[in-house]
Symmetry: C2
Subunit: 478 residues, 2 copies
Amino acid sequence: MAKEKMVSQITDMELDFAQWYTDVCKKADLIAYSGVKGVFVYRPYGYALWENIQHILDGMFKESGHENVYMPLLIPESLLQKEKDHVEGFAPECAWVTMGGSEELEEKLCIRPTSETLFCDHFKDIVHSWRDLPVKYNQWCSVLRWEKTSRPFLRHREFLWQEGHTLHATAQEAIAETEGQLECYADFCENYLAMPVIKGVKTDKEKFSGAERTYTIECMMHDGKALQAGTSHYFGDGFARAYDIRFTDKNNQLQVPFETSWGLSTRLIGGIIMTHGDNSGLVLPPKVAPIQCVILPIAQHKPGVLDAAAQLRDRLKKAGFRVKMDDSDQSPGWKFAEYEMKGVPVRLEVGPKDLEQNQCVLVRRDNREKRVVPLAELETALAETLQAVHDGLYAKAKANLESHIFAASTLEEARDLQKRNGGFIKTMWCGSEECETKMKDEAGMSSRCIPFAQEHLGDTCAICGKKAEKMLYWGVAY
Amino acid sequence: MAKEKMVSQITDMELDFAQWYTDVCKKADLIAYSGVKGVFVYRPYGYALWENIQHILDGMFKESGHENVYMPLLIPESLLQKEKDHVEGFAPECAWVTMGGSEELEEKLCIRPTSETLFCDHFKDIVHSWRDLPVKYNQWCSVLRWEKTSRPFLRHREFLWQEGHTLHATAQEAIAETEGQLECYADFCENYLAMPVIKGVKTDKEKFSGAERTYTIECMMHDGKALQAGTSHYFGDGFARAYDIRFTDKNNQLQVPFETSWGLSTRLIGGIIMTHGDNSGLVLPPKVAPIQCVILPIAQHKPGVLDAAAQLRDRLKKAGFRVKMDDSDQSPGWKFAEYEMKGVPVRLEVGPKDLEQNQCVLVRRDNREKRVVPLAELETALAETLQAVHDGLYAKAKANLESHIFAASTLEEARDLQKRNGGFIKTMWCGSEECETKMKDEAGMSSRCIPFAQEHLGDTCAICGKKAEKMLYWGVAY
């Protein structure tokens, strides 16, 4: 039997992954297009997902001593230009404000594409002595980058993110911060989003404009493409020198501090969709799902059903679950499809016969496993099931990641492997940018990272054949 | 003895209230100036205050069925222009983006001064049937208005706020929403910020551009000036018609829905400062204070003091209080002044002698009341004291408000009362805009609101002498 391209309401992911992705974003009510090209509306369900991500990360940041601030939206052109590498990287994609009211501005202002320059300008004012260090700030905001192409969550002209910016007395402390925040991101992805990550360092070619070193976590999507899920940058004292930030140390000597920044954005929502989703729609990791459990009354016109369902909802809410009861007049079939599309991890069905026996039917979204649960044990059963869904999603994603890592010893082999399977291709690499460019030009892959977990695959660079000491992951990335 | 202008670190509020205000904003580390005129940096302590405000309001909004979304930052000029009154009000203070990267844009984009136009554009896409209504959305974001003058919190070119936008099937329901959200703001101001409010309706002259009716809560500052603390607007079907939003009702007839919006911003932080502050600095209402209780170890080098202080901190944190222990090497005197400046509601002093007797000293910020508390009773004592501080602040602010309301029967009387006492001057008013303009020109007062709590002060307008049925509050406002 020929496969139909449309599975229920959406395109079959195995036939057209890109279209499947766009369908899910739209049908699950996550996002909408706006009147400005490349700019999107975060709809309530998509925004609630982001709020849950924010809530968890914000707690982690605060626990490790970071404080939230809010810096200006606009950067004067002269301020942006102080760090040469940085402005070269970002100026081409800045949106510029040139008029205030009906007057032309004396100096044009760019809408922040990232806020290093603004934080530096502020640090200069507030840091004077060793007593003022470290400064560990974070901000939640939107940034704007005038991209030529766009895709829901993955590439917006305007997107939501958090950006951490810290300042330290020593390089050692700043590096520890950079690495610590990468670990925080990895922990978050794996333990809250059920997304396994590869941790590593970007090559000089791929690092952040102005950074001395960029750390990254890279994830593997269902279709074999890579997604950069979060980055953490060590700046050395480059920005501090460019922005004239100085402090007097305990010996009353003037010193230059060391800086970091790290960011994670709503593109991670794209990552969640492409890691866990299936042909019925979204599949959400329970720890960030806006609705963890939906209660659907069956034969809700029968006496007692709605009351019992409402009671269950209240009980589960009280126990700390994010729960919704849908008593709308849509059919059960419609509701099943709707909450599958929305990726709600657990569905509870409550009908007259279940109630007679003091039980309900619990259905897992990820694997459709169905079981009968006595009402008296519902809280425990739900908590266990949500954890099981998380573990199941993680195991499945981990298997997908592991089955998408291939070793190659020549460029040709790397290209063929990528073509055949997608995924991460690992090779030895001499360290030269020329070889990266060649891999990009001839095999269509960018370097994803030099992973922390190094392996010795050989002694020579897969591209040029010269001596090589580092193993690199290559991939086609979103 | 002549009064000194500077009281400790700040200007005497009775001698120069404006300078006192700026001093407090700066010395309490709430805010800093940025490189762009009229744009400020929200520092950690100021931002934490806003986060607490957000957290409470967000809970109230969600409890009443509102959902958060995030709409674009940029509004195409053509979209802004669809509602005539609205664009007339806002266009003169828009900042315009005219370039993306190095290219001139085909249509200039304004940075949102408020987002009615964007919500309407989105509502048009998502609302089709009575089943889609009501839509009750809110967003937390920053907006930009190209003001000529600026003042910390009170008037920024860029400021943080929330804006609610809702759409309803009937005018009645939309009006109930508008009024309900005003009540929500009033409840929040009175019960969380200890700021008594006057509730009322704006005159046509003072209403929001594009609104049919604007409701407001008005507060009285320490210096006798008024502060508009929150507004809620009923739009009728004006915006919906201008933006072509339609829905089919249950009888399959095409209908035009009714709209509201309501907003509250970080200017409320200015209101908190000017309502409760004193000559030692900020005085924060306990329910939103970033630190509710600071623990200061006395003679902290003595054995056991720091450990005991840390234990108390952990105990109080566990009990749900926002608490900080300051074991820095600054002197107790410095610390006393610092946390008074920051307006921390309660200070706990823990020294060796206190510990011997299993007690500590509890000092209220608002009235300096000091008492000894057995450690075993600390949680109860602290909770009671925080409530007492809230009640005390509210009572003091209420007394200030009530002592600043004066009735007048002529414009001259109104002008003299304002000149002598500041405050709200209440008069009868005929309803004409001419009389409002005259009051503004000759007595320097704008109309603040037509209060819900009407009084019959007479039968004629204080300005023109014609028949008058409404009582109006006038004032000099921030």
